[in-house]
Symmetry: C2
Subunit: 446 residues, 2 copies
């Protein structure tokens, strides 16, 4: 593959130059350009029936190669949309001008998920170029709404499961536990993302003239947030914890053996004063096996330069719940909506609206596809593969399980310090090439 | 004065067309234009020594007429700067295109304080035009930083008290208790306005990958706000309440006699579900004689369209305390800074920085200048003048008291529904003309 590296890198850079930010409607044209870019890459890799699947939302990109009768069929998934790059001023190089520094490629989407989607495409392209055929059947399904809830792909998979028949899905959208440590992710958290609307007075009021009798929607949001989650990080939403399945003793034991230095993690990855979270749970339990409630932003009032003495008429907070098996997003949505109503202070009206959600998922490490992937990674990296979970959410995994009845093999090649969703996102380039090699081996040795 | 009405209104409209928003640095040129506008109006009124006083910040506008030896000298104060107009989409006519509807003039600053400053200028201009002289001596001192803390005027008054020698100040920047009810304000709340900075991780983090162990600065702000003020509106800042001087029994009794319908007030002025605030205090006590803590906005995290799953690295809340006699702004600043430190949750660093502050003030209703103003207003409006307080802050009143040793007569001609600091600010035009007449009579009968 050494001879293809330059070409592979150039292709990825071109992919990363497209600011396909799915959450900002002004980037609609860029999102479409990214879909077309993926379509062209699949066509160039000589897949069959390459096409954009339209139908509400951003197009899905499909391509297949099904000429290995009697062999398993894999559904290869990735996403071409990215998170917004703000705060822009914290980037050392512009987010959509991919730049190599110290063996890493810096750009929004470098790791999440354009770089990893590129691994799947280039592995298949490489095998087809070399052999003219594949050792297994594959279907690509690359979406453009992963960062905004993936409604289109969920609807498509649910509506046309027969078009996507496969034995397992393969997803490159997670990270390795440590550099050089091949990793398969066996669990993901689910999510409920929504907005908390609070309305007080009819319009913004002067805090001198009306302060003391007028309700303050931002203060009300603060009160609701504090009612939903206490200072120790315990969530107080009635019924919310009932269906949580604790990790097995064996899994907890494996997590304890993972190479992990909490002080170093705090210093290198977080950089805060200390780690926080629910008392009585280890770091990995808090990250992988416990739900969270996080507030992502509050809009309302005056946030410009200087001082304005306003009591805002309304305010909106963006809040997410991360869920673990076997919590249900639908049930959690109802529970937080009810808890918000209960926690609403006097004088204001508070309402919860879910924007998107996805189920948590777990896969059995003994699954044969997982085992084959683990062996392929082991051969390329030269070390035993470890099994971890991820705190993030890939809702499509739940959809694949429910609608197609297939497990998802999560082969991740990102690194813990890739800064996904943050300024200076990067992808470690050796993992780009090793990832392609590992996927090639996985497909070849199934 | 009837013959001058059109000219007076045209002048005020021209004044209001200048978007002199002192808190937004991009409006610096507009602020200066407003200062020059006032300077030209004072010159046209035939005041002497009219000039801009420069020296850091926005210029003060000065003008004097001191040719009535043996007569009292009044310091006439107003401000030419205004609050930002946002949210813009809620204005029925553009904030800087003054528009007359139903006897009221709609524009940002119409009531606070360009319209009322215009009353002082036109009253003096009218007397000088009619008589060629004034019955008293006057000094105008009009500032351009009232909405942002008034540092320049405070420094100037403190540095050059001899240039401003006077027997009393007259300020038109308050409101009448009710339409047709002449009102003098005998007390103002003070203010401490500041920012609450909270820092968590080194940079924004993905809420899936790090949620459960990373501190969330917005949640921390929520916790601090809830620690500083409880659900009932009680402020919990150690020592904060110690020096509060309760209103006299006589004052409380007078407040009880004011024409006031709480249900109508809630419906017409606030428009929220109910009134809130400290239990055990009447509406007027909560507005005029009790301190408040209000949050005006939070910056940090993601507030755009759609969803972004970020744990922000930092967040800033704008917060004010309103103070009542005899609370000290310096002491309250120290107390809230300390309370913020105490309330700071684990994992984050919280810091309070005061942006500006001003002392509360009280004046004796039996003061002879107050009595003369009350009589003048009574003659023009045909009803006895009532004495109220205001929940707002005019910090210069404290500076005049401390540095010049003079009381301030607060003759207000705004109305309770003028929407100052809010969309659709207005000034009731009959009060513009009656205000000018009342000030003319006050100056003539001293």
């Amino acid at each position: 593959m050494a001879d293809r590296r330059e070409q592979i890198l150039d292709g990825l850079k071109a992919f990363l130059r497209i600011p396909s930010i799915s959450t900002l409607s002004e980037h609609g044209a860029d999102v479409r350009r990214a879909a077309e870019f993926v379509r062209d890459a699949l066509a160039e890799a000589r897949l069959r029936h390459v096409d954009l699947i339209e139908g509400g939302g951003n197009p899905l990109v499909y391509g297949e190669w099904l000429e290995a009768p009697g062999r398993p069929t894999l559904l290869l998934y990735g996403h071409y949309d990215v998170q917004p790059p703000d705060p822009l001023e914290e980037w050392h190089s512009p987010p959509f001008e991919p730049t190599v520094r110290n063996d890493s490629l810096y750009a929004r989407g470098a790791s999440d998920d354009k770089g990893q989607t590129w691994i799947l495409i280039q592995a298949v392209a490489g095998l087809l170029a070399r052999d003219g055929r594949l050792p297994v059947n594959v279907r690509f399904l690359i979406e453009g709404e992963e960062e905004v809830g993936g409604k289109h792909i969920a609807a498509y998979v649910s509506t046309y499961p027969e078009r996507l028949r496969a034995d397992a899905a393969v997803i490159c959208d997670t990270e390795m536990f440590a550099p050089e440590l091949p990793t398969i992710c066996t669990g993901l958290r689910g999510i409920v993302y929504g907005e908390l609307f609070v309305t007080g007075a009819r319009q913004d009021l002067h805090s001198g003239v009306y302060g003391g009798v007028a309700p303050n929607p931002i203060q009300a949001i603060a009160e609701i947030l504090c009612a939903l989650k206490d200072r120790d990080g315990r969530i107080h939403i009635p019924g919310f914890h009932e269906k949580i399945r604790p990790p097995s003793a064996k899994e907890l034991e494996a997590w304890r053996r993972l190479p992990f230095d909490e002080a170093e993690y705090l210093e290198k990855e977080i950089g805060s004063r200390e780690l926080v979270g629910e008392p009585g749970y280890s770091v990995f339990e808090r990250l992988w096996a416990r739900p969270t409630l996080e507030v992502h932003g509050i809009r309302g009032g005056f946030t410009g330069e200087g001082a304005k003495t306003v009591i805002p008429a309304r305010a909106v907070a963006k809040v997410s719940l991360r869920l673990v098996a076997d919590q249900s997003p639908e049930e959690a949505s109802r529970q937080i909506a009810e808890a918000v109503r209960e926690a609403c202070p006097r004088g204001v009206v508070a309402e919860w609206r879910t924007i998107h959600s996805g189920a948590p998922s777990l896969i059995d490490p003994d699954n044969p596809f997982v085992q084959a992937a683990a062996r392929a990674m082991e051969e390329v990296f030269g070390r035993p593969t470890v099994y971890i979970r991820s705190g993030g959410s890939i809702p499509i995994v739940g959809v694949f399980a429910e609608r197609l009845g297939i497990p998802s093999v999560l082969m991740g090649f990102g690194l813990p310090d890739d800064q996904i969703h943050a300024p200076n996102e990067k992808f470690y380039l050796p993992n780009l090439y090793r990832g392609i090699e590992a996927v090639e081996r996985f497909l070849s040795t199934l």
